[in-house]
Structure formats: structure tokens, C-alpha cells
């Protein structure tokens, strides 16, 4: 058995499993006594399905995966177009397709398909022959689905496409360290000015520009309740299923966007440290895989995957504590949702496939 599953990377799998367990428990606690009381079961099913999908993808050679990148990308674009034409509307946004008894959010998977196709296109060329047009083309490949997603509208999701572009500076020989440092610097500056410098009406203008029709007052309430929940957790937390903010529903959207506040309230600062440590371990392992990858495409893909995880982690965990504007963006392994869970596992399956080939050949 162990031999059979040797393509699975235990260094990535272990923190993933722990995070998934923590996340499912949190969804269970958050859903207690509400109409979402059985959501954790559904989430467990999706996670199981995710592990199967991950294993299936990891067992396939990365070469074969990248070979199907183009048709998959086209399929993804078509699914996004289908959303715009015949998607299911919930609360003013048209993001979902109805498939039988379940809803499917194509943009989640499209993120990974775009990453796969762009890294495939750029990675299969000799570096010397990659010109400005190629980069422009890569950008276009990312921006096109981003636009379709913005049209839904789904600003948070559109933002999460951006890490795909991370590898472009890498191609031009810039040291990744400096690029990332600059990026982080800019986002820190942005976050700082968002909190301390900009006046409320200026913020409102920015938000109105980015996201017309957003209910700023409602979002302010959400962030406030989320901060109270996190703070009330203190060092050791209020205990599993014992957070008053969570259990009395003061905390909004607590099974998806604000799921980490539940964890922070009920598990405290120590729980937050554990979760951030495990997320760190996942990201590090993906970056480590990028280092050992055999082809440029594979390296690019892993860097982009790490970027996507880092972005989700940073934006979601930063958002729920009020560091960043309140934008709907999910936290991998914690937030309930079939499309995102399955998509993350598929992405990580590709990463494991890359690592297995690198180790065996």
C-alpha cells in the first residue's frame, strides 16, 4: 500500500490533513444550531472526494497533465461563459452553475487551469526566445478569465488570479526575492495606508471604484464582530463550540469568509499559531517542490500555486482581523465549499506529481 501510494508527498500531505481536520471541526462548530448544522458532513464528503482527485492527479506524470492544459483552459473559459449566460444568482452575484443537486463555482477551478496553461506555454519555450509578446500573451490569458470573473461580479476571486503572474518577472531573470519583497512592501504600504492614512470617504471611493454597490456599513459591522470574536479568543480560546460570537451568530458568514475568526475565538492565539504554522509548512513545501522541479513549467506552476495559497492565506486571515478591506475570499482547508476544496486538492495533486517525478527520475 505504502509502495502503491509513494507518489503522495507526505511532507505536504501531513500539514494538509491536519489543516483539513481543523477546518472541518471549525465548520462543525460554526454550523451548530443553524441551517448549516450538517455542512461539516458535506464538507467531509468534498474533502474525501478531494483526496481521491489529488491521488488521481498525483499518480499522473506532469508531462501528461501539462499536455492537456490547452483543452482544459478552453473548457474553463466555456464554463465561465456559461456562468455569465445561465449562471445561478445568489444575492446579486451570478457565480454558480447548477449541476443536478449541487452548485459548482467554475472560477475556483479556472484559477488552477489558467495557472496550468500559462505556465505550460511559457515553460515549454527556451528562455532566450521568450519575448515581450509572449509575456503580453500570458497576461492576456490571465486577464481574460479575470474579466469574466469580475463580470459576475467577484472581486475577491479576480484578485486571487493575480499570483499566476508572479512567475513572469522570474522569467526575465529578476531575483524572486526582490520581486516578492517589492510586492509585499507595496501591499504592506497599501494595507497601512488603508488603515491609517486614507480618510473614510477616500476608502469609500476606492471601494466604490473596485466594487460598486458594496454595502460598506454592513461590512464594517462584520469586521467589527470578527475582531471581537478573535480578541475574545485570547491566548487559549473560548473552547470548542463555546465561542459566544460564533454560537450566537454575531459573527457573519462564519462557515466561509469568516471561518478563521471562529477558529481564533474558540482556539485562541495558540490555535492561530498552529494554523499559521501549518499553512507556512504547506507553502514552504510547495516552494521546495518548485526548487526541485525538473522543468521550467513545473517550477513556474509550483511558484504560482504557492502564490495562490499565500494570497488566500494573507488576504483572508488579514481581512477577518481588519488589516485588509472586507473582500469575500475563502481560506483553503477551512472555508466550506465544494468547488474550492476540490480545486485546491487538484492543484496540490499537480504539485505532488511534480515532486514525485523530480524524486524518481
Amino acid at each position: 500500500m505504502r509502495e502503491r501510494l509513494r507518489f503522495l508527498d507526505s511532507g505536504l500531505l501531513l500539514p494538509m490533513v491536519l489543516l483539513v481536520i481543523m477546518g472541518t471541526l471549525t465548520v462543525y462548530s460554526a454550523g451548530r444550531g443553524t441551517i448549516q448544522s450538517t455542512l461539516w458532513l458535506k464538507q467531509t464528503l468534498w474533502t474525501g472526494l478531494g483526496f481521491l482527485a489529488l491521488a488521481a492527479v498525483a499518480a499522473v506524470s506532469p508531462l501528461r497533465i501539462f499536455r492537456s492544459a490547452f483543452p482544459l483552459y478552453i473548457l474553463g473559459i466555456l464554463s465561465l461563459a456559461a456562468v455569465l449566460v445561465a449562471g445561478h444568482r445568489i444575492g446579486g452575484a451570478q457565480r454558480w452553475l447548477i449541476l443536478g443537486h449541487m452548485t459548482w463555482q467554475p472560477s475556483e477551478l479556472m484559477k488552477w487551469l489558467t495557472l496550468l496553461f500559462v505556465t505550460h506555454r511559457l515553460g515549454t519555450r527556451p528562455l532566450a526566445s521568450v519575448g515581450g509578446w509572449d509575456l503580453a500573451g500570458a497576461c492576456a490569458l490571465v486577464f481574460f478569465p479575470m474579466l469574466l470573473v469580475l463580470k459576475q461580479p467577484d472581486l475577491g476571486m479576480a484578485i486571487s488570479f493575480l499570483p499566476i503572474l508572479l512567475m513572469i518577472p522570474l522569467l526575465k531573470g529578476l531575483k524572486a526575492r526582490w520581486v516578492l519583497a517589492a510586492l509585499v512592501g507595496v501591499s504592506l504600504l497599501g494595507a497601512f495606508s488603508w488603515q491609517k492614512v486614507l480618510k473614510p470617504y477616500q476608502k469609500q471611493r476606492v471601494m466604490t471604484f473596485l466594487d460598486p454597490g458594496a454595502d460598506l456599513q454592513g461590512k464594517g459591522y462584520q469586521i467589527n464582530q470578527s475582531r471581537i470574536a478573535i480578541g475574545a479568543g485570547g491566548m487559549f480560546g473560548q473552547g470548542f463550540t463555546s465561542g459566544s460570537q460564533t454560537q450566537l451568530n454575531f459573527l457573519p458568514v462564519k462557515t466561509t469568509d469568516f471561518v478563521f475568526s471562529v477558529w481564533a475565538e474558540e482556539r485562541g492565539f495558540l490555535g492561530v499559531l498552529l494554523a499559521l504554522g501549518l499553512f507556512g509548512a504547506v507553502i514552504m513545501r510547495i516552494l521546495d517542490t518548485a526548487r526541485v522541479a525538473k522543468t521550467a513549467s513545473e517550477t513556474y506552476f509550483c511558484v504560482g500555486a504557492a502564490g495562490i495559497f499565500a494570497l488566500h492565506l494573507f488576504v483572508n486571515v488579514g481581512m477577518v482581523i481588519g488589516l485588509l478591506p472586507n473582500k469575500g475570499i475563502v481560506l483553503p482547508f477551512f472555508s466550506a465549499g465544494g468547488s474550492s476544496t476540490l480545486s485546491y486538492f487538484l492543484g496540490l495533486g499537480v504539485v505532488m506529481s511534480v515532486r514525485y517525478r523530480a524524486k524518481t527520475k
Binding site: G231, G280, I321
Partner: protein, 609 residues
């Protein structure tokens, strides 16, 4: 790249450390403050029974739309929106919220009370829009007799913001207190002790769990001296006529019946009334809100002659055998005074029996007004009777000092002539008149009229009987008393009130007829025929040999006293001594025997509903 990733994570860690460790306590307090609320459970007021355990006032559960003190909105925009949704005056609502904010407490602002099913549904819809609203269960008064004893019982209402500010700490926000009548006078006996409970609420303010509960202690059941049967008789005897009647228990001054006509139904005042509705009660020319028994001052007419006789006898101006001759009229101080008839020569007893004015004019000519005043003072007419009802008016007995002080004029001897037959400046409340005749009935004892009979101990225990102040002995000389008693007997036996005699019961009493009272609408009276402008009075006691009750009845604009007030008394005496179920009253100070608990199972009256 890894360094950068670790750096980002470190930044998150620092941000969480700041909120969770540095600000943790503050955030915990905020979380508790919005999840844990203190709610007051209003205690039901004591149930009120008559002396025979007939329930007069009960409580039942009612739903109210309220804002809890801690949920009062700070945003004036929200208050305005709420006022618009409730279709009330936004300024008034703002004032209420502001006033309640000033007063400390943790009760609630009642927006709509006594919600019916439809109103509950509408309130629930409102709550979705205004999460600070809540629906509370609170006891509500039910006055079972409706207008049977409106003035005696009074009614309750929410304490006003002004009262909260005026006497901080005495009342709590939203507390229901007695506004008038017995409810107000004995508010402290009737009120219970509110309970408190700490509850967990969810984000919509809905109660999720209760912990820390202190039960409300209902107010104790209170028994009144009233007899529902006699009260009903009195009410029915008045019918549509206006006036006042009161019956006192001569053993201790307990009020057996007290009725002011027109009466009102206290249930009406439990609702939030519109300005229009308030006007129809408070600005009604018939003055239904006035308790005529304790607040209506009437010229006593001939009922006053007993006081004048008393003054003359005590001063030694006459003896019981002194006679004067009535020719139908006589001149005093250059003015002609008339009598109803030509009575011929009569002594005091005959003068009382025939209500001869000439006889008393003669006394008035020989007495100084201050002699009458001092006698009135000695026999308790110049003071409030002390009945346990709020805002009792004090009878007005003229004196030289009074005229100098009020009218800034000296007293003219001719005025004493009018005073001697109960006209002029003197005016008495019916309760004071009844107490004066009770004094004669008891050979000179001044009782304190009272409505409180007893208070049942907690948990349906014994009834602690109220001990009224001991009667004050005025030292009425037995010789004088027997003359007055005989005179009053002859009034009904052979005099002006012969037709009011009840076979088997000897009534002693005095009729009276007096002109327009001081508190009525003059324009209204001008439209009436002259005969109807007179008030009829009858005051006295029964039975003469062994007096048990004293009474005073005033029938407004009803003409001659003997023909309209005395028949009311006849009905009262008929009921009390003949028709009433033949059960002896328990002596004052004794426990209520079970025989007096008419239609209730033991202890059933203790169930707060």
C-alpha cells in the same frame, strides 16, 4: 521567497497577538456585553378583593412591544424611522427616549402594550427591521367590575419620565404604578418585587438561554373594606344621576361602599390614550374623573343644621327644650329670611325633624360664626378624614379668620344666618359628612375612613388585618347626643324623610337641599330648570338602636333631598340589613372566616394570572 512567505506569516502572527493578547480582555468584555443582557421580570401587582373575597382587580399576562433600556437606540435616525413605522409622533418618541436615558434603571420603554395576535405579528415584522425592539410578557391589570368602583380603585399606569427624574431610585423605568385611587394610595402594599434574569441573546437580540434567575415576587393580595353587593346597590341606585355616596362601617371606619357618579371604567386608562380620548374624560363637563366623595365639596344644606344645633347646645344658647316660633319668614339684620312652611312653635327635635329654617336662623342670630367653626373643628369637620385615597379635599368651614385671609373682608353677622342652615361659604365633602354623622352614631367617636381591610401573607397564608388609627373621642356629652339622635330619628319617623323608612330598620338621618355646587360648569347649569339646579343630600346612620353603618349621599341637580337622596339611602339600608345574605360581619380584628369566601376555592385567589 521562503523568507518573504515567513515574513508575511510573522506579520499575521503579530496582528493576531495584538488583538488576542494585548486587546483580548477588552474584546472579551465587548463580546459579553452584546451577548449577556439583564432583563427585569415585572412582578404582578397584588390582586384586590372586596371584604368577602370577591375579586375586584386581577392580573393577566399581556404582550408588550418594548425597547429594553440597554438597547435604546442612540441614532436619532433610527428613532425617526421607528416612529414612522409605528405612526407616532417622532418628537414625542425622541423625548421619551431621552428622558428615559436620564433616569437610571434596567427596565424598558413600552411602545405598544397589550398586543393582540395581529399586533404581535406586526411587531415581529418590525423587529426584523429594528433589532433593538423586543416583545416582553408583563402582567396587565383587569378591573373586573369595570365602572363599579372606578374612583375607589383608581387605575395604574407607567411611571412617567418626569416622576423618574423627580424621585430618583423610587421607581424603575417602565414600572407600573398606581396613578389614582386605592391603586395609588396603597401602591407600596400592592407592588411586588421585580425579578431579574440574566439571559444570553443572539445577534438579533433573541433570548437563547437564561442563567441567573431571580423570580419576581408578586405583590400580596389585598382585601378592601368594600362590599361588592352594597357597592352594586349604590351604583344602581344612582343610575344616570350624578352625585356621590359613601357608607362607613361604624366599628372601625371601613368604607363599605363608595361611589362617585358618573363613574369610569379603569380598564380604559390602561391603554395609551390619544389626546382626544384624554379630553373626553378630563374635559368632560360632567367631570367623571373627579372623585366626588373625597374631592367634591358640596354646600351641606340642612345636613349642616346638626352641627349648628351642636354648637348652640354646647354654648348653652339653647337647651333641648328651647322653642322658637316659625311663621314662614322672619327678618334678621334688616333682611327677610324665608322658611319652606309655617311650622309654628317647635323645639329642637321638631326643628330637626321638620328641617325648619327659622329655628336655625334664630340659632344663627345668637351664635358667632367662630362658635360654629370651633365646634366643627372639635368634631373633625375642618380636617381631612384621612381616607386612603389620594388628593382628598378638605371641607371648607367659614370663620372670621378664613374670610379675612381668603376674601380680605371682615365677617358680617348676617352671613351667620345663612351659614346656620348650611348655605353660604361652607362646603363639605361627602366623606367628611359621613364621618360627622358616624361621630354622632358612635356617641362622639371620630373614625378614620379607610379602604384597606387586610393583606394576605405570602404564599396564601393568613390575612394580616389592617389596624386603622384608633378612633378619637370628641367628648360629646350624652345629653346632647340623645337630643341629636332623637332629632335624626324623627326625621325619618315623622319628619322630612318619612317615605324613606325601611320596615324593620330604624334609620336616623338628615335631609338637605343645597344650591349649585362650587365645582360644576356654571353655563351647563344655567340651562337647567331652577328646580334641577339644587342638590339633594341625605346623611345619617342605621339602625338607630345599635348603629352599624353611617352614610352620606349627594344627588346632584336632583331637587329636594327627601325626594331623591333619601330613596338612595333607603335602597342601601334595604340591601344591607334585609336583602343581603344573612351572614354577620366578622368583627374588626378577627380573621376572615371561610364563610366569607364566596365563590373561590381556598388559595385559588393567590394564583397570579
Amino acid at each position: 521567497m521562503k523568507t518573504v512567505a515567513w515574513f508575511m506569516i510573522l506579520w499575521l502572527v503579530l496582528a493576531y497577538a495584538r488583538v488576542q493578547l494585548w486587546k483580548g480582555r477588552e474584546m472579551q468584555k465587548l463580546a459579553l456585553a452584546q451577548a449577556v443582557k439583564t432583563r427585569t421580570t415585572p412582578a404582578p401587582r397584588g390582586i384586590i378583593f372586596d371584604r368577602n373575597s370577591n375579586k375586584l382587580v386581577d392580573n393577566r399576562r399581556a404582550l408588550h412591544l418594548v425597547i429594553q433600556y440597554e438597547d435604546l437606540p442612540r441614532d436619532t435616525g433610527q428613532i425617526e424611522a421607528l416612529a414612522a413605522a409605528l405612526q407616532t409622533d417622532p418628537d414625542q418618541l425622541k423625548r421619551r427616549v431621552a428622558a428615559i436615558r436620564q433616569a437610571a434603571g434596567n427596565r424598558m420603554l413600552v411602545l405598544q402594550d397589550n398586543l393582540d395576535d395581529g399586533a404581535v405579528a406586526r411587531a415581529e415584522v418590525l423587529r426584523a427591521r429594528f433589532p433593538f425592539l423586543s416583545i416582553e410578557v408583563a402582567p396587565r391589570r383587569v378591573y373586573l367590575g369595570e365602572d363599579l368602583a372606578g374612583h375607589a380603585l383608581g387605575y395604574v399606569g407607567e411611571v412617567t419620565p418626569e416622576e423618574l427624574i423627580k424621585e430618583p431610585g423610587r421607581y424603575q423605568l417602565g414600572e407600573i404604578i398606581g396613578r389614582t385611587g386605592f391603586e395609588a394610595a396603597r401602591n407600596d402594599r400592592l407592588r411586588g418585587v421585580d425579578g431579574q434574569r440574566r439571559i444570553l441573546v443572539d445577534y438579533l437580540g433573541r433570548e437563547v438561554a437564561t442563567y441567573g434567575m431571580q423570580e419576581a415576587k408578586p405583590g400580596r393580595s389585598v382585601y378592601l373594606t368594600l362590599d361588592a353587593g352594597l357597592q352594586t346597590t349604590l351604583k344602581e341606585a344612582f343610575g344616570q344621576n350624578q352625585g356621590a355616596g359613601v357608607v362607613l362601617d361604624l366599628r372601625d371606619g371601613g368604607v363599605l361602599a363608595l361611589y362617585s357618579s358618573p363613574s369610569y371604567d379603569p380598564n380604559v386608562f390602561l391603554n395609551r390614550l390619544t389626546q382626544e380620548q384624554v379630553k373626553t374624560y378630563w374635559e368632560n363637563p360632567d367631570r367623571p374623573m373627579l372623585n366626588r366623595v373625597t374631592q367634591g365639596r358640596y354646600p351641606p344644606g340642612s345636613t349642616y343644621k346638626l352641627l349648628v344645633a351642636l354648637a348652640a347646645l354646647e354654648k348653652g344658647i339653647i337647651t333641648p327644650n328651647t322653642t322658637f316660633t316659625c311663621n314662614g319668614h322672619k327678618s334678621f339684620y334688616g333682611r327677610d329670611f324665608r322658611c319652606d312652611a309655617v311650622h309654628g312653635t317647635l323645639n329642637l327635635v321638631q326643628a330637626i325633624a321638620q328641617s325648619c329654617d327659622i329655628y336655625f336662623y334664630e340659632l344663627g342670630a345668637r351664635l358667632d360664626v367662630d362658635d360654629i367653626y370651633n365646634t366643627a373643628k372639635k368634631y373633625g369637620l375642618t380636617e381631612a378624614t384621612g381616607i386612603d385615597l389620594p388628593h382628598e379635599a378638605v371641607s371648607r368651614i367659614p370663620s372670621r379668620e378664613w374670610k379675612r385671609r381668603v376674601k380680605k373682608e371682615k365677617w358680617y353677622a348676617g352671613e351667620t344666618i345663612s351659614v346656620a342652615i348650611g348655605q353660604g361659604a361652607n362646603s363639605l365633602t361627602p366623606i367628611a359628612l359621613a364621618r360627622f354623622y358616624a361621630m354622632i352614631a358612635t356617641h362622639g367617636k371620630l373614625l378614620t375612613p379607610h379602604l384597606l381591610y387586610g393583606v394576605r401573607q405570602e404564599n396564601g397564608g393568613e390575612i394580616d388585618l389592617f389596624q386603622p388609627p384608633p378612633p378619637r373621642d370628641t367628648g360629646l356629652a350624652p345629653g346632647i347626643w340623645s337630643t341629636l339622635d332623637e332629632g335624626l330619628y324623627e326625621v325619618v319617623h315623622s319628619g322630612t324623610a318619612r317615605e324613606s323608612a325601611v320596615p324593620g330598620v330604624t334609620i336616623a338621618g338628615k335631609t338637605g337641599t343645597s344650591q349649585v355646587t362650587s365645582f360644576v360648569d356654571k353655563a351647563h347649569y344655567a340651562s337647567l330648570s331652577k328646580k334641577l339646579r339644587d342638590n339633594a343630600l341625605f346623611a345619617g346612620y342605621a339602625p338607630r338602636e345599635n348603629p352599624q353603618i353611617a352614610f352620606a349621599v349627594v344627588a346632584e341637580n336632583a331637587g329636594f333631598g327627601a325626594s331623591s337622596a333619601a330613596p338612595i339611602v333607603k335602597k342601601l339600608v334595604q340591601y344591607w340589613f334585609i336583602d343581603r345574605v344573612k351572614k354577620p360581619l366578622p368583627p374588626p380584628g378577627a380573621k376572615l372566616p371561610d364563610a366569607f369566601r364566596l365563590d373561590l376555592e381556598p388559595g385559588a385567589d393567590e394564583e397570579p394570572r
